[in-house]
């Protein structure tokens, strides 16, 4: 799956989980940019991403992400 396809799917997941009308995720997008993205919705996002991409992240990986770009890097590496 290409990076742009991952971003496309992530956009859908973010809109669904965070109950947003629209969003345009970039590499630099972080929780500071989206009010609805807090510690609890973060876990919902991860669960949804793991189900969609049929992958499993380690705790260390999840805790190391600083922005969406690093999250996508991690998905690509699986």
């Amino acid at each position: 799956m290409s990076r742009s396809e991952i971003f496309e799917k992530l956009n859908e997941i973010f809109i669904d989980v965070l109950d947003l009308d629209e969003i345009e995720l970039t590499d630099d997008t972080s929780a500071d940019d989206i009010e609805e993205w807090d510690s609890l919705s973060h876990i919902q996002l991860i669960v949804s991403i793991e189900k969609t991409f049929k992958i499993k992240f380690s705790s260390k990986e999840i805790l190391s992400w600083k922005n969406v770009g690093e999250m996508v890097d991690c998905i690509e590496s699986k």
């Binding site: 510690s39 609890l40 919705s41 876990i43 669960v47 805790l63």
Partner: protein
């Protein structure tokens, strides 16, 4: 030496002058002045604990460098040094703060089941500010281990991070990632930042000296002489206490942040208008943010990630455990454990109903204030928090029972006389007005500035001096900051 005292003013003027004047553009000397000031300040408060603070700093400085040295190269040694940091940090807290609590709990449990106990408590002095600086030490260890920061190789800068005098006694709990980089470059005097800091200090003084201390004149005797108070008076004491606590603690935080601004150092935010929370989650998101943020990052998130496959129940477990720790952080007592448990349990209906996840903006009426439905939710949340604070304020579980018992049984006792309660009630009313004022400034960092209709710079300065004089004139006898005990 409290921040709002004359002694502190003298101390700070000396530090301020040495900090900026003779050492122009010399960051090392500036940091040394700051460190000398911090150790002098801590020494004045707790001279016996200076060696503890000094050794803790040295040990964690070493641990930080070792974690960085082995990170990405040797996972075993990285983990060994990380765990060493965590164990030492928590160990410090457990020894000084919780050791006697555990002994007493074990001893009373043995007695309760009919066994004789020879366990005795120890005479351990609680170092002032230990809950705050140990959390900084642990945070530093974890942030290096996670790769979010690099270890400090400047012992003076690192010591300043741990012992920074405006925050060492009562927070806010700064994070190394935001604080340490500020110490790497020279802080030149910035007039706008400094005047902003002065305004924030004045706002903190209004909250603490004018509001909190005056409300304390009513609330504290109610708690001391419970059996002599009528039920109605005790109920008022419950309702007044969250405002007193907020004005006291957020007032201190404003003063600490303001002093930081005078030194051109940014300190973490601690409160963001919590009384506008429509449920307990919104409330806690904006209350003592540097502590809740710390526990969210280092306790709640790892737990929630670990138990994510259990869905909402996993999150509820993580929330409750986090809140029990928040409660215990405040002190070694079952009242604080139950205080945390109570706050955590309040999340269950929110989580189960899904209301927690729907972040709707507050609906406003035509005047720009919250609509009745949202206002009602804010009042209800305040009430829920007030009830929980009975456990926070009571010195023991038995005492909180006595307090509740007195509320149920003291309806026949006469109310306190008008002369006794007129002043606190006036100040409670004033604090309600201040909260309305906060609503109008809720997008600002703090809710204080000269009115816009005063255009002249000179008269704006005069306004601040008048407010300062009013604070001094109407301030109640100063009481200790509530959070100094933690």
């Amino acid at each position: 030496m409290v921040v709002n005292s004359v002694e502190f003013l003298f101390f700070f003027v000396i530090v301020f002058l040495l900090y900026y004047l003779p050492f122009r553009s010399n960051v090392k000397l500036q940091n040394i002045v700051l460190l000398a000031g911090s150790f002098f300040f801590y020494g004045i408060c707790e001279i016996k604990m200076i060696p503890l603070l000094f050794i803790s700093i040295l040990v964690f400085y070493f641990i930080g460098i070792q974690i960085e040295r082995y990170r990405d190269k040797n996972n075993v040694l990285t983990s060994v040094f990380s765990y060493l940091g965590i164990v030492l940090g928590i160990g410090l807290l457990i020894y000084f703060k919780y050791f006697n609590f555990f002994i007493e709990s074990i001893s009373s449990s043995l007695t309760a089941i009919g066994l004789h106990s020879n366990l005795h408590t120890f005479n351990i002095i609680l170092p002032i500010g230990i809950s705050f600086f140990t959390f900084k030490l642990i945070s530093y260890t974890l942030e290096i281990e996670r790769g979010n920061i690099t270890a400090s190789h400047d012992i003076v800068a690192f010591s300043n991070y741990i012992s920074f005098f405006p925050t060492i006694l009562s927070g806010p709990i700064d994070r190394p990632g935001k604080f340490l980089p500020q110490l790497a470059k020279f802080r030149s005097f910035n007039y706008n930042t400094a005047t902003d800091g002065c305004k924030q200090i004045l706002w903190g003084m209004i909250k603490k000296m004018l509001i909190a201390d005056n409300i304390a004149l009513f609330v504290d005797p109610c708690w001391t002489y419970v059996n002599e108070q009528s039920s109605f008076t005790l109920l008022l004491a419950i309702i007044f206490f969250p405002i007193q606590l907020y004005m006291d603690f957020s007032g201190y935080s404003d003063m600490a942040i303001g002093v930081g601004k005078l030194l051109n150092i940014s300190v973490a935010k601690n409160f963001n208008y919590p009384f506008f929370g429509r449920n307990i989650a919104e409330y806690w998101r904006n209350w003592h943010m540097s502590l809740t943020g710390w526990l969210t990052d280092y306790v709640f998130m790892p737990l929630n990630i670990k138990y994510r496959d259990y869905g909402v129940n996993g999150s509820i477990f993580a929330i409750i455990l986090t809140f029990v720790l928040i409660g215990m952080w405040h002190g070694a007592s079952w009242t604080f454990v139950l205080f945390g448990l109570y706050q955590g349990l309040l999340y269950i209906p929110l989580m189960k109903s899904g209301a927690f996840f729907k972040k709707k903006k507050i609906k406003l009426n035509k005047s720009g204030y919250p609509c009745f439905k949202d206002f009602r939710k804010m009042v209800f949340t305040y009430f829920l928090f007030s009830v929980g604070l009975i456990l926070f304020k009571a010195p023991s579980l038995l005492y909180s029972y006595h307090f509740l018992h007195a509320i149920v049984n003291n309806w026949s006792l006469p109310l306190i006389t008008v002369s006794e309660w007129s002043r606190p009630v006036v100040f409670f009313g004033l604090s309600c007005l201040l909260i309305v004022h906060e609503w109008n400034h809720r997008k600002d960092e703090y809710a204080f500035s000269a009115p816009l209709f005063i255009k002249s710079h000179f008269f704006r300065i005069v306004f601040y001096y008048v407010v300062f004089a009013v604070v001094l004139a109407f301030a109640a006898d100063s009481t200790q900051f509530i959070y100094f005990q933690f």
